[in-house]
Symmetry: C2
Subunit: 127 residues, 2 copies
């Protein structure tokens, strides 16, 4: 077993950033060359500029909220797995999205890889 | 999005093998050079011989049962994510183990990588 856990601080901050809509905090947890696949199977977002674009796109509805409710977190060495429900809400309803996220951090604890597993079966519309 | 799902047949058989205690079926879903990390952070089992050893070790209690109850499966291309409770039971009790498994298959659909995310926080003793 790996005794040093490198992944917890950045991954905790990642979810805190979603909860509090804090873009600066969000961008601070990634390495410059990070890759983010969300969902897996779609074109990955490579580097901070593309990651910022994805964040902006997710927050394009000024009346929308994105609230992750964490169900389980496992932190091992430089990796982490977090399962959560992303509560996506807008003016005219929204959806609950069941996501399982895998994270890998570098030796500075910055996220270098984030991979979100979800597909259509993970979506529940909320009216 | 990837339209061809390569991972489903082998991963479904993987869980069927645990449920029915079918070692031959179990070994048939892996490629010869497969790597299995269970849990992540422990030394990986490399190749079929080591994978067989791990299966035998898990089944060393003749009165024991290992029953996976699947909560969620996501199959995308040559990858899959399955979260489940492994109900481990023996003569004197057992435990429920909450596992999130990540799988990757090769072009023949055989599992080349299986990575099980769990730690002490995922264990509930059953008396």
């Amino acid at each position: 077993m790996t005794s040093d856990i490198l992944s917890k601080e950045s991954v905790d901050s990642y979810f805190e950033a979603w909860k509090t809509n804090d873009k600066d905090l969000f961008l601070s947890v990634f390495s410059d060359d990070a890759i983010w696949e969300d969902p897996i199977g779609s074109p990955p977002h490579s580097g901070k500029a593309q990651i910022e674009e994805f964040w902006d796109q997710a927050h394009s509805d000024p009346n929308g909220t994105l609230n992750p409710k964490i169900h389980r977190s496992v932190f091992i060495g430089n990796e982490a797995m977090v399962s959560f429900t992303m509560e996506v809400r807008g003016q005219s309803g929204g959806m609950d999205l069941e996501v399982t996220d895998f994270f890998k951090v570098n030796s500075n604890g910055k996220i270098i890889l984030a991979r979100a597993f979800w597909d259509a079966s993970c979506i529940t519309p909320v009216l």
